[in-house]
């Protein structure tokens, strides 16, 4: 009887991540995350679910000599996948947005008392993030800021 009662809807199916543009992320979004999110007390902490690798911040090798090196391919890929994973629930766009402008609670804004990352949706960096999530594309040959290119 239990077998009959248990549904047969498959729940353990893989999901493909959104096909958002990697060059746009690498050259436009990642610099914003490195500048606004990657402080050691914030998402530059290796214990956080959403982690951002950035120069002079969190590094994948953990070696002090690599601290100021350009991001490795593995770090770029990790940043890209971390950002994609936070699209669920609109976290990537609404967590750093002030609640008065429709954003979610962000403890970083509370801890440091300096407001959220984006005061409103007119912030140029917010609009860049939103554009990426809406499918904006960049030339694959774009130069990544801080990449030693």
């Amino acid at each position: 009887m239990l077998f009959v009662l248990v549904g047969c809807q498959p729940l353990d199916q893989p999901r493909s991540l959104p096909s958002l543009d990697e060059p746009y992320f690498r050259c436009r979004v990642q610099p914003i995350l490195g500048r606004s999110c990657a402080a050691f007390a914030c998402h530059g902490d290796g214990l956080r679910y959403f982690r951002v690798f950035a120069r002079n911040r969190l590094r994948m090798t953990g070696k002090e000599g690599d601290r100021n090196a350009a991001l490795s391919d593995a770090e770029r890929a990790a940043n890209f996948e971390s950002a994609l994973a936070m699209i669920d629930g609109d976290f990537l766009l609404r967590k750093p947005l002030a609640s008065e402008a429709g954003g979610y609670f962000h403890r970083g804004a509370e801890i440091f008392g300096e407001g959220n990352v984006f005061a409103d949706t007119n912030d140029p960096d917010y609009r860049t993030l939103a554009a990426w999530l809406n499918g904006a594309k960049e030339d694959p040959a774009c130069i990544e800021p801080g990449s030693d290119q």
Binding site: V6, P10, D12, L47, F50, R51, M60, G89, G103, F105
Partner: protein, 347 residues
């Protein structure tokens, strides 16, 4: 609940059965090894304005302090919150209806229920019930996070008087949940280095449970209350619960020893750590395979009087429990104690 009242009726003096109103206060303290403390206080009242009409209500407050592994992250250390619950019900002959309102900082719910039961020759009782729960799910300190969860449930029960000493109750319960069933505080992890993601539970869930209860009035003033429950849902969880309580009446005193065990498998989409993004992902340990066990004792006392206060009573209860999670590396075991003290009067 009804069976508990029936057995209780076997053990209390006739003066208590004639009561027209009662007030009870109960305080409970829960402490576990996962750094969670819950203090619960309930004030409940019942009245019977007429022989067939009964009304009841309660107010409950939970004060919760937790630094559980579910909430700890680099950004969160612990939380403190208070849940308030108010409920009222009315029953007349075999019809009853109830309403419960519950609110805390990130959750608000309304529950409406209705039940009907019919007795056949004092040997057989059929009961039917239905309930609807509307939940508004929020996130602490977040005015812009709003989700909803509706639950629809129904049950059918059959109670048999097998002998003057035995009652058997068989019930089937079904519930359908529709809405947000993840937690906005939990994140799943991946095998790959450095990646986490919010939970994504299915938005619907169909749950079934079959429960068998047997209450046996033994030699002297004793009773044995036993139950078995089997549960399954369309998330792939199958579970079994078995428990029993031995109740001994000794004049004005009553004592009970009880034990309960539970085992379940994990939900189809549960993984301790995911190898790739999945359509549904959860970090809820209650959706992982685990077993638990509870054991405890209680001691009650009641004293009837000839004054307008027909009865005084108190009860003290202590439970110990343990959980073992087979596939939840962040917390393999959890143990704890629950203590309760209750005082009541009947008018």
């Amino acid at each position: 609940m009804r069976l508990q009242l029936i057995i209780a009726g076997m053990l209390v003096p006739s003066a208590a059965r004639a009561q027209v109103a009662s007030v009870d206060v109960r305080n409970g303290l829960y402490q576990d090894t996962d750094h969670t403390t819950i203090n619960t206080t309930v004030v409940a009242a019942k009245a019977s304005p007429t022989t067939d009409l009964k009304v009841d209500g309660h107010y409950l407050v939970d004060i919760i302090t937790s630094a559980s592994v579910d909430v700890i992250s680099a950004a969160t250390t612990a939380f403190h919150e208070t849940r308030h619950e108010a409920a009222g019900g009315v029953s007349w002959h075999g019809l009853s209806a109830g309403y419960v309102y519950s609110v805390e900082n990130d959750w608000e719910s309304h529950t409406a229920s209705a039940d009907i039961q019919q007795d056949f020759n004092h040997r057989f009782t059929l009961s039917l019930g239905g309930r609807y729960v509307a939940n508004a799910v929020g996130r602490a300190k977040d005015p812009n996070f709003h989700r909803s969860l509706d639950a629809y449930g129904g049950d059918v029960g059959l109670t048999f008087v097998l002998s003057p000493m035995d009652l058997l109750h068989l019930s089937y319960t079904a519930a359908y949940l529709d809405g947000y069933q993840a937690s906005p505080y939990r994140f799943v992890t991946f095998d790959k280095q450095m990646l986490g993601a919010p939970e994504t539970d299915p938005t619907t869930r169909l749950r079934h449970a079959v429960t068998l209860r047997w209450n046996h009035h033994g030699e002297g003033d004793t009773a044995l209350r036993s139950h078995v429950r089997v549960y399954s849902d369309d998330w792939g969880i199958v579970s079994a619960t078995i428990g029993t309580e031995w109740v001994i009446g000794m004049g004005a005193w009553e004592t009970g020893l009880h034990v309960r065990g539970y085992a379940q498998n994990g939900a189809d989409f549960y993984q301790a750590s995911y190898t790739q993004p999945m359509r549904y992902m959860t970090a809820d340990r209650e959706l992982s395979p685990f077993i638990d066990g509870f054991a405890g004792a209680r001691l009650g006392w009641h004293h009837g009087t000839a004054s307008f206060l027909k009865e005084f009573r108190f009860e003290i209860k202590v439970d110990g429990f343990g959980f073992y999670f087979f596939d939840f590396p962040r917390l393999r075991e959890r143990a704890g104690v629950i203590g309760e003290l209750a005082l009541g009067v009947s008018l």
